[in-house]
Amino acid sequence: MIYAPERDEGPRPAIIDVGYELPPMRLRIPVRDYIADVSDDPDRDYYEFLAEPPVEPVERVYTIDEVRHSARLRDKVRRVDLDTITFPTGSAEVSMSQAKTMRKVAAAMEKILAKDPGETFFIEGHTDAVGSDRSNLVLSDKRAESVASLLTEVYGIPPENLVTQGYGERFLKVRTQEAEQQNRRVTIRRVTPLVRPVAQR
């Protein structure tokens, strides 16, 4: 017999962006080393890319929710833009042919997890600016989830190592209010150094 309180009861806690306390970030590495576009560079070694450390010192260990809510914190780690997965407008489905393009990224994640099973990957979903904010938020959540389930079901990445979050139209890649394929995307980051203490050498 255990006591399990209802989690959904009561008001939701306020969202606090802890990144506002930090100074604006200075990117010190070339953009190409910061963002890996799968379509631009399909033969890249994604294991090396994902295993790269954060681009900025981490002040403390953050919770996964703090990372979820703070763009400033997520900026500390590099990202892989899965732009080979092209979502149609209003859709979160990934076709099997597009799922194949994730093979290299998935293999890199597998390799990282084989080395350290406690790694955490953060999968972000994004939409373009067409449609209402609310529907886009839901849609981006679904996109992140569909990619995560694909990674789990097709490539065998354990779901406990994946965290998904949709951001709607908040972080456009191309500044336009029109329908834009490049804005409908999913991004993967390795956030382990943000959320877990790493053994010091």
Partner: protein, 556 residues
């Protein structure tokens, strides 16, 4: 005819038809005697006898009923007589008593009345005396009060008169100031009004006559008011700085007749929206007013002149159907809109300014190659590319270019503060800033959490019945006691039943325990009741239902 046909016609057909027709006929004949017996009316002796007996019985019953009725009637009459007699006696007795009581009451009341009358007389005398004294005092007070009120009223009237005078002076000053403000506003809006007037010229022509007619009466009244005001308080005008009095104080109705030169001067400055056609065709009068004539001067307040074409002064008469700014000074034509002044028009909500990136593609590419060299926001080197960092995107969304500049300054400060630090080489280096004891402490904390063990429970906890019964149990026991009134051993029963009820209630609250208890052979769940020591039927029923429920819980 063949032999077969003949045979058929002579033998087979008749036989067939007979065989078909006979059974109903036979059945009919079988039925007939009964029908006859029922319908015929010829009754047998037995039946007659039966009927006779029946009739005799009916007569007997009727006779008995009549006798009973008669007896009942007699009885009722007797009872009624008795009741009546008793009632009469009772009434007589009551009447006598009432009479006696009434007499006593009357005597008592008479005595009381007499006493009261005497007291009343004394009291009235006293009251009259007191009232006379009070009256005298009141009259004196009233006289004094009236004198005071009179004095106060006179004072108030004097004050009111003074106030009115002051208010009138203030109103006139304000009016003069407003006129001045209106005139300035009109001049500022001249350009806009010209446009509006040109568009509305056709509508205006029709509306002007109507407006002039309507405003004529208004002007007459207004002029009378103004004349009175002028006589009371002449030449009171606020002159703003940097303006001479002739322009600052627009001429008013009564005065203007003697000062036409000023009016004309003012008019020249104040007539904004008149089109060329209107000036040529419709309105020769206002600019050509001869000084000293009997014609009403154009006062510049927008009051139309009867019998003349309405001049477009731009201050007073809003053009019907057009969005002309309302200066708040003139008399608006009824039925037209009164738009607000330009100052009062609501400010359009300005969206967040769009980020304008003036950098060329080459510069963007260059920055993307080496972002460390610059403090500007790094953007994707594509057309309309957004910022690379999500935090920069957030800032762009909320603040636009201003936010970019602000962040650039902050980055410059940061760069000045800390010399260029290379990005961390690995995850551990990235977390080097975290105090060493925190990560060192953490595995122990995790270990402590992992080692935490609960207590294993081998059997279900035994729930002890409390010594003091609670309210729920009391109610139940009371119910049972009422049911058990016939039996003697109440006290024993109560204790037993309390146990039963408690056990059953506890079990119902914790259904997972049931299977445990049922599985344990030595502990029947509601054993005391089941043993039958209690004669209570209700308790037995309760325990039985509980047992039955236990059984089902076990099976499931």
């Amino acid at each position: 005819m063949s032999i077969r046909s003949k045979l058929f016609a002579t033998v087979a057909l008749p036989v067939l038809s007979v065989s078909v027709a006979v059974p109903p006929a036979v059945a009919d004949s079988l039925m007939k005697p009964f029908e006859v017996a029922q319908e015929g009316g010829g009754q047998s002796d037995e039946e007659l006898l039966l009927l006779q007996k029946q009739r005799q019985a009916e007569e007997e019953a009727a006779r008995q009923a009549a006798e009973q009725q008669r007896a009942a009637e007699e009885e009722a009459a007797r009872q009624a007589a008795e009741q009546q007699k008793a009632a009469e006696e009772e009434a007589a007795r009551q009447a006598a008593e009432q009479q006696k009581a009434a007499e006593e009451e009357a005597a008592r009341q008479a005595a009381e009345q007499q006493k009261a009358a005497e007291e009343e007389a004394a009291r009235q005398a006293a009251e009259q005396q007191k009232a006379a004294e009070e009256e005298a005092a009141r009259q004196a007070a009233e006289q004094q009060k009236a004198a005071e009120e009179e004095a106060a009223r006179q004072a108030v009237e004097q004050q009111k008169a003074a106030e009115e005078e002051a208010a009138r002076q203030a109103a006139e000053q304000q009016k003069a100031a407003e006129e001045e403000a209106a005139r300035q506003a009109a001049e500022q809006q001249k350009a806009a009004e010209e446009e509006a007037a040109r568009q509305a010229a056709e509508q205006q022509k029709a509306a002007e006559e109507e407006a002039a007619r309507q405003a004529a009466e208004q002007q007459k009244a207004a002029e009378e008011q103004q004349k009175a005001a002028e006589q009371a308080q002449p030449g009171d005008c606020v002159v703003p700085e940097g303006q001479d009095a002739s322009t600052a104080c627009p001429p008013e109705g009564g005065k203007a007749a003697q000062q036409p030169a000023t009016t004309e001067e003012q008019k020249a400055g104040e007539q904004p929206p008149v089109t060329e056609e209107q000036k040529a065709g419709e309105q020769p009068a206002p600019t050509e007013t001869v000084p000293g004539t009997e014609q009403q001067p154009q006062t510049g307040e927008g009051q139309p002149v009867p019998g003349t074409e309405q001049p477009q002064t731009g201050e007073g008469q809003p053009v019907p159907g057009t969005e002309q700014p309302q200066t708040g000074e003139g008399q608006p034509v009824p039925g037209t809109e009164q738009p607000a002044t330009a100052e009062q028009q609501p400010q359009v909500q300005q969206p967040v300014p769009e980020v304008v990136d003036t950098r060329t593609e080459e510069e963007k590419v260059k920055i993307a190659e080496d972002p460390a060299a610059t403090d500007e926001t790094v953007v994707l080197p594509v057309e309309n590319g957004a910022a690379v960092l999500d935090s920069d995107k957030d800032a762009d969304n909320s603040g636009g270019n201003q936010a970019r500049e602000q962040r650039q300054k902050l980055r410059e400060e940061l760069r000045a503060k800390e010399e260029d630090v290379a990005p961390p080489a690995d995850d551990a280096a990235a977390q080097a800033a975290i105090a060493a004891e925190i990560p060192a402490d953490l595995p122990q904390k995790i270990e402590a959490n992992l080692n935490e063990k609960g207590t294993r429970v081998d059997e279900a906890p035994v729930f002890v019945v409390p010594e003091t019964t609670n309210i729920v149990n009391n109610t139940v026991i009371n119910n049972t006691v009422i049911n058990n009134n016939t039996t003697v051993n109440n006290i024993t029963n109560n204790v037993t039943e309390a146990t039963i009820v408690r056990a059953c209630v506890t079990m119902r609250k914790r259904p997972t325990m049931i299977s445990f208890r049922a599985a344990a052979p030595a502990k029947p769940s509601c054993a005391p009741a089941a043993t039958g020591s209690s004669p209570s039927t209700t308790v037995t029923a309760t325990s039985c239902s509980a047992r039955a429920w236990t059984a089902t819980a076990t099976s499931t």
